[in-house]
Amino acid sequence: MAISPHGQRFDALVERPRLWRRWQRDVGYTLWVSFLMACAAATVFFAMVDPEILSGTTTPGWEISRQAGYAIGFFGFWMLTAVTATFVIWLVRSEPAGVAEGTRDERRDLP
């Protein structure tokens, strides 16, 4: 039996999802945000550049089909954006105390 803050008795506690730990949130933020940006970047880039022509002029020795070009482009963008996101999260997380003014935690402490 559990008792609610309002004095009501329950035969079972209400379950709520366990909060994500910091590393889970970091991985989630990084992968998801970078994925969205990679989609946008790949769409814009390949609307203007034909991967076949690009590989024909820059890497004529390799045979890269359009389909492979799209995939390489998309994952290339994703890698780039994911590295950026990781870097940003790391910088924010490792902010030394006393360096940052007006961060969330600081504001929370205000009356």
Binding site: S4, L13, R16, P17, R18, W20, G28, Y29, Q67, A71
Partner: protein
């Protein structure tokens, strides 16, 4: 924080109604809004899964032919050069989201977001294989019996099968569905086709089967900025505090007013059904994805208690706090609506009138001009014709800008281009030297495309002649 249970059976956080748990088993809901969501699921997923199988004039109606760099949407063909339309469409979509959010909050999240829609289907598959939330909890905690194995196996079978079908459908928007199906069944699909089927299938499985509302809670950017689009007249899911409080248990027959109670019987149903695990009675929270499950379940409870429905309902801050009527038409909504209409009308006009012919005129870079016998000057150009229609066309060319300007084509006449062909043709323009100004002149090439879809395109080009006494202006 260190006291937080690490999953498994879970334990209560002191003083809290909740138990943090690795996995939630939200109670099933039925009702008006659940029915609406089911309808949305059927319509949206119906469109998604069936569209690749619809034909239009002998080809797949909606096909993004990446290898050919052409995009077919029913009767329309788009080229990468039409990217501008897609950007425009995205702006319309964003504004639509603003508009809808201003009126009725996170309708998108509750009914239309792919995350919601697919999660709903995965939940349904979980329910038919493992039973309702109580049976699922028991099953998860129980020993591995034959029944558990069979039920879990059946669920995974459905989930994985559905995910793969989803991946297949995704790729079928890029490779014609029938062709792709045959290729996959005979194991002759290209490596990238196989890869994307599995990649998209895996993403579906992970997002809808495993992560579910965690995506909304942690990863969705919209959840973080949606409150900026709200005002006090936005319809949101609200708990009627005036009516509900003071909350408390009572007998069904008891008169709540006599007992000094509000209408909320504190049955905690609204919390039990919440997929993100919030208590709507605490007010609007960022986690609320507006699924309205609490509205449905509370209405059920109210009916059982013989109380009026709508203790939790869609309402506005103004209506709840200040007893003002719900006001939908207000400046913000009207402005969003007007901009949206203008953008939509502009989009429709632009698509209807978009050019079906691209003509590019490029001067030959090696030779400035050439003098021909008979006092003529010749300039050479390369003309590119992009026939953006699905019909054959032939072109008539003419030019003006200099007196006596003539065209000469090396290509065979009539100049024809196949559907969707990009054709480059060398073009010579000739003019009497005496008619060419010393600094050259701007000439205009007029291309008339004849055929089922006629078009006229004019392109400017520079015509250069000798800058000496042979020119007239000297």
């Amino acid at each position: 924080m260190s006291a937080r249970p690490r999953g498994g059976a879970g334990s209560a956080v002191p003083g809290s109604l909740y138990v943090a748990h690795e996995k939630v088993y939200p109670r099933e809901v039925s009702g008006r809004y659940a029915a609406l969501r089911n309808l949305a699921v059927w319509v949206l997923l119906g469109i998604y899964y069936l569209l690749p199988w619809v034909s239009w004039e002998g080809r797949q109606a909606v096909l993004f032919d990446l290898p050919a760099r052409k995009f077919y949407i029913f009767g329309l063909t788009f080229w990468p050069q039409d990217f501008f339309f897609m950007a425009w469409l995205l702006i319309i979509a964003a504004l639509m989201l603003f508009f809808v959010t201003a009126i009725a909050g996170r309708l998108w999240c509750g009914y239309a977001c792919p995350q919601t829609v697919w999660t709903e289907v995965f939940l349904w598959m979980e329910r038919i294989t493992e039973g309702n939330h109580n049976r699922r909890r028991k099953l998860d905690r129980g020993k591995w019996t034959r029944e558990k194995l069979l039920r879990k196996g059946a669920k995974q079978f459905l989930w994985i099968g559905f995910s793969l079908w989803t991946g297949f459908t995704f790729v079928a928007y890029f490779t014609p569905a029938a062709e792709l199906g045959q290729k996959l069944l005979s194991f002759s699909a290209g490596p990238w086709e196989n890869f994307w089927v599995f990649f998209y299938g895996f993403a579906t499985y992970g997002n809808a089967g495993l992560l579910r509302e965690q995506v909304c809670k942690y990863m969705c950017p919209y959840a973080r900025f949606q409150s900026a689009m709200f005002d006090k007249d936005t319809m949101i899911i609200s708990y009627d505090q005036r009516r509900g409080e003071p909350r408390g248990g009572r007998k069904r027959t008891a008169d709540p007013r006599a007992a000094g109670l509000g209408d909320c019987i504190d049955c905690s149903m609204c919390v039990q059904v919440c997929p993100t695990g919030i208590d709507i009675r605490d007010g609007l929270q960022i986690e609320c994805i507006a699924c309205a499950a609490c509205v449905d379940i509370c209405n059920d409870v109210m009916m059982k208690m013989d109380y009026p429905r709508g203790l939790i309902r869609y309402s506005t801050h103004h209506a709840m706090e200040e007893q003002k009527p719900v006001r939908v038409l207000r400046p913000r909504v009207l402005v969003y609506g007007a901009i949206l209409l203008a953008l939509l009308a502009g989009f429709a006009t632009a698509v209807a009138n978009r050019s079906t012919l691209i003509v590019d005129v490029l001067r030959d870079r090696n030779v400035m001009y050439r003098e021909l016998p008979g006092g003529l000057v010749e300039n050479v150009y390369t003309v590119t014709f992009v026939n953006k229609t699905e019909v054959e066309r032939h072109y008539e060319l003419s030019a003006h800008g200099i007196e006596g300007l003539e065209l000469s084509l090396d290509a065979q006449l009539p100049l024809v281009s196949a559907p969707g062909e990009i054709r480059r043709v060398p073009l010579r323009m000739r003019a009497p030297a005496v008619a060419v100004p010393a600094r050259g002149a701007d000439v205009t090439l007029v291309v008339r495309a004849l055929g089922e879809v006629p078009a006229v395109v004019e392109r400017g080009a520079r015509f250069i002649g000798p800058a000496d006494e042979r020119g007239t202006s000297q």
